[in-house]
């Protein structure tokens, strides 16, 4: 699988799926359990803003005070880039994402639409609520697309996605090696591309890519190892820029990266697969939109940083993203208290004008922690 596929919104495999009569449903938030869509026989397509170079149409609906990622996604939607979608799922990942979906539905409604409401706190009652919400989603998919979402089909779908998660775990291991066999930009490209592929195709291409990475000659150990954390980053260029300066991104906790991979299912999940998905979604979430889970987010960053032996942490957020902007400030305070060097970067999503500034700051950070070129 090549990196270019990650930039192609409706790549070859997606077209093949559509040509074969397959249905595609778009979603944007990592908290959307794609297994339910798999079980309904539709292809989950994660909405991204790849290749978006302007936001003029979206700016007329949202505003310059909304994050560039949401504006860019809306821009593509209004330009018709997502017209191939048979339906759209809104998730309340953040306030601005909700606004993006509401405008999308207001201006150019998708043929099928569903709103999946995910609680912001983890309690027995919120788990019950989310389980009910997932059953509503399954029922809505059944009504919209005809395929019954049975427990058997759901278990099958979960098992398939678990195999993909296991492969992504292997990919992470390769990346965390002393001499990483895969770069951060390559790893991110795989995950992003996979969010637009039928699971069987993704599995096959991912395993092929991992084999290829393993076989190729290992590069020299990098001067400085970094963990990249933060917001909705689907542009591989940012990671490539950091790496071009000598900072190997050997781990991440990004929304489009490892965040979805780290979620684990509870034991005995086959007995109650919907409940298991609800539990994993809420308990396993390391997204800062969960408002009482800072300790687990911090623990994840610290554990990942230790395991990957990083020299520093880069925390990125898109301008106007409150959820990550504030969380990054808090994480920075906590990490620095523990002696972990942190670079907090605020960036304009997708803006080429920001690149030079970000490169300069990254370079300065790498020099501060003792490396870089």
């Amino acid at each position: 699988m090549s990196e270019s596929m990650g930039r192609d919104l409706a790549g070859g495999h997606l077209r093949t799926w559509r040509d074969g009569g397959g249905r595609v449903v778009g979603y944007a938030c990592v908290l959307t359990p794609v297994e339910v869509l798999d079980a309904a026989g539709v292809l989950p397509f994660r909405v991204k803003a790849l290749g978006c170079s302007k936001t003029d149409r979206a700016d007329a609906r949202l505003s310059r005070f909304n994050c560039g990622f949401c504006r860019s996604c809306l821009q593509l939607a209004l330009e018709g880039a997502f017209d191939f979608l048979d339906g759209v799922i809104e998730t309340n990942g953040c306030d601005q994402l909700r606004g993006m979906f509401e405008n999308w539905q207001y201006v150019a409604p998708a043929p099928w639409f569903h709103y999946l409401k995910v609680p912001h706190v983890v309690t027995p009652e919120s788990l019950d609520y989310l389980e009910h919400e997932l059953r509503r989603l399954a029922a809505a998919l059944e009504r919209g697309f005809g395929a019954a979402v049975t427990d058997e089909r759901l278990i099958e779908a979960i098992e398939r996605r678990e195999r993909i998660r296991a492969s992504l775990g292997r990919l992470a291991d390769l990346r965390e090696r002393p001499a990483p066999a895969v770069t951060g930009s390559e790893a991110l490209s795989e995950v992003i591309a996979g969010s637009a592929l039928p699971p069987a195709v993704f599995q096959e291409l991912l395993d092929e890519a991992i084999d290829r990475f393993e076989r190729r000659p290992a590069p020299p150990a990098p001067a400085r190892r970094l963990l990249l954390g933060g917001a909705a980053i689907d542009d591989v260029e940012l990671v490539r820029d950091i790496e071009s300066l000598g900072g190997a991104v050997v781990a991440d906790t990004l929304c489009f990266g490892s965040r979805g991979v780290s979620l684990e299912l509870s034991e005995g999940w086959r007995d109650a697969p919907v409940r298991a998905l609800a539990e994993r979604t809420l308990r396993g979430s390391t997204c800062p939109r969960m408002y009482d889970e800072l300790p687990s987010r911090l623990e994840l960053v610290l554990a990942t940083a230790a395991r990957a032996r990083v020299d520093g942490v880069v925390l990125v957020h898109n301008k106007f993203c409150d959820v990550h902007g504030i969380d990054n400030a808090l994480l920075r305070l906590e990490l620095e208290k523990r002696g972990v060097p942190v670079l907090a970067l605020e960036r304009e999503y997708g803006a080429a004008a920001d690149r030079g500034r970000l490169r300069t700051r990254t370079q300065a950070f790498l020099e501060r922690i003792g490396g870089g070129r």
Partner: protein
């Protein structure tokens, strides 16, 4: 911590300001007001002058006394063995007031007090927040007060009730940060973004759990009799609120513009207190008198504006007062439209149910915390336009509010269908450094004179035709 020189906390300075009001008895004379204002530095002098204009003085003084009592109560809390609970504006303070061992402090109201009453506004506390590395796009509404708290020299609350999850990311994240940095408990209550019975049921559970956590934290059981007495007074507040609401309807509007500035703190600080009743009674009595006299501050009421969101608070004289002098009525903003309902006092459960319904219907909860942000907001604004006979709508464009900014285009489209012009401004409601009041006045004037005055179009006669943005075809 931080880089800004913060030598005195917001709360401490505000208490000092209200110390000047403490000695005021009755309705002060022009001479007394002049003497008081001379004691103040330029910013509070200019702003507080608006509270003492002859036509609003009686209510202005009553309101300031109420706020003074609220602040002094918090100042003296620890000495009296009480805990200070920081609450956000979207949570009913009567729940905290119902405990003997607790005092509520509303962060957004404190920020507003800084914007109105402190020299330099709340800017220095905001800068302290920025010094901690927080992004400059967070909301000043609570960041100013919490910046002061984090400076280490101001009153630190014993706990924070965080009621914004579901309605506002920025607010929720700031509460989480402050709780963590100060090591004080965060009592979370999420507002499900779901208007279905399931959403209501979940909120019901959350609210009751919050009461239990408060009881544990305060080591005090919520007393049914005390709650009943308090909510009986809250019901009186509700009656007075609706009387005042009705008084906004006649043309010219007999309710002075600045009364809208009083209404929100009454709800957000001391709802159910004698002081709140007294303030509301004064507002109703004076407005009724003005109705009988057909009194209006300008020769003629030229336009009636509903503010779709918040207002600006850093120069109330040059906003509320100035609008009135131009003949532009400030009917209400969304913070005033909290739609209180009488609470059934028969049992502990019925009273808790009433508070839950009130919390659900709070500003922001009922719009941005709804299943559809745009849907609920449009419905509320459209209803306000029709019911209060507004000629136009103004969106202040508080730049930190990404939720409202993300759907204001839908509001504009729907208002256009109704034939109601919408002015979209941009500024920070609490920080004067973002957009100066003179610029805002110019924009309001241009809008009013070209789109509104003399062009009344039968607002609200046309029906909304907006498409649903949630719960669509699934």
């Amino acid at each position: 911590m931080g880089t800004t020189d913060v030598r005195a906390g917001l709360f401490e300075r505000a208490v000092g300001l209200f110390g000047l009001i403490d000695g005021m008895r009755g309705v002060p004379s022009d001479e007394s007001i002049e003497g008081l204002l001379r004691l103040l530095p330029p910013d509070p002098r200019r702003n507080l002058a608006a509270f003492f204009e002859p036509h609003v003085r009686e209510a202005g003084v009553s309101f300031l006394r109420m706020v003074k009592d609220w602040m002094f109560h918090a100042r003296d809390a620890r000495a009296a063995g009480r805990k200070v609970i920081l609450v956000p504006f979207n949570f009913p303070p009567e729940l905290v007031l119902a405990f003997d061992n607790a005092v509520p402090l509303t962060s957004e109201v404190l920020t507003t007090i800084a914007a109105v009453g402190l020299e330099g506004g709340g800017e220095r506390y905001w800068e302290h927040m920025m010094g901690l590395g927080l992004p400059d796009h967070i909301c000043s509404a609570n960041s100013v007060e919490l910046g002061s708290v984090l400076s280490g020299i101001d009153l630190v609350p014993d706990a924070i009730i965080s009621a914004a999850p579901g309605g506002c990311d920025a607010n929720s994240k700031i509460h989480e940060l402050v709780s963590r940095v100060l090591g004080i408990p965060q009592l979370l209550i999420e507002k499900p973004v779901d208007d279905s019975p399931e959403g209501h049921a979940l909120y019901d559970v959350y609210f009751r759990q919050l009461i239990e956590r408060l009881e544990d934290f305060l080591d005090e059981r919520l007393d049914e009799d005390k709650l009943r007495r308090l909510l009986a007074r809250a019901n009186r507040c509700t009656e007075l609120y609706w009387e005042l609401y009705e008084l906004h309807k006649p043309r010219p509007c007999p309710v002075p513009n600045i009364y809208n500035l009083f209404l929100a703190p009454v709800r957000f600080c001391l709802w159910g207190s004698d002081q709140a009743i007294e303030t509301l009674e004064t507002m109703v009595r004076t407005s009724r008198r003005r109705l009988e006299e057909r009194a209006y501050p300008a020769p003629v009421e030229r336009a009636r504006a509903l503010w779709a969101y918040t207002s600006y608070y850093f120069d109330v004289n040059e906003l509320h007062g100035w609008m009135e002098r131009q003949g532009y009525t400030f009917l209400a903003d969304v913070l005033d439209l909290y739609h209180p309902r009488p609470i059934d006092l028969r049992s502990r459960d019925s009273m808790i149910d009433g508070m839950i319904a009130a919390a659900w219907s709070y500003p922001m909860n009922r719009q941005m915390g709804a299943s559809s942000m745009s849907g609920a907001w449009v419905r509320d604004v459209a209803h306000g336009v029709r019911d209060l006979d507004a000629d136009c709508v103004i969106f202040c464009g508080h730049d930190a509010c990404k939720q409202s900014w993300s759907v204001v285009s839908i509001l504009g489209d729907e208002l256009e269908r109704m034939g109601v012009p919408l002015l979209v401004l941009h500024g920070d409601s609490w920080l004067k450094t973002v957009t100066p009041i003179a610029v805002l006045q110019e924009e309001i004037t241009a809008f009013m004179e070209t789109r509104v005055v003399g062009r009344r179009r039968g607002a609200g006669r046309r029906r909304l035709r907006r498409r649903s943005t949630t719960e669509g075809s699934s």
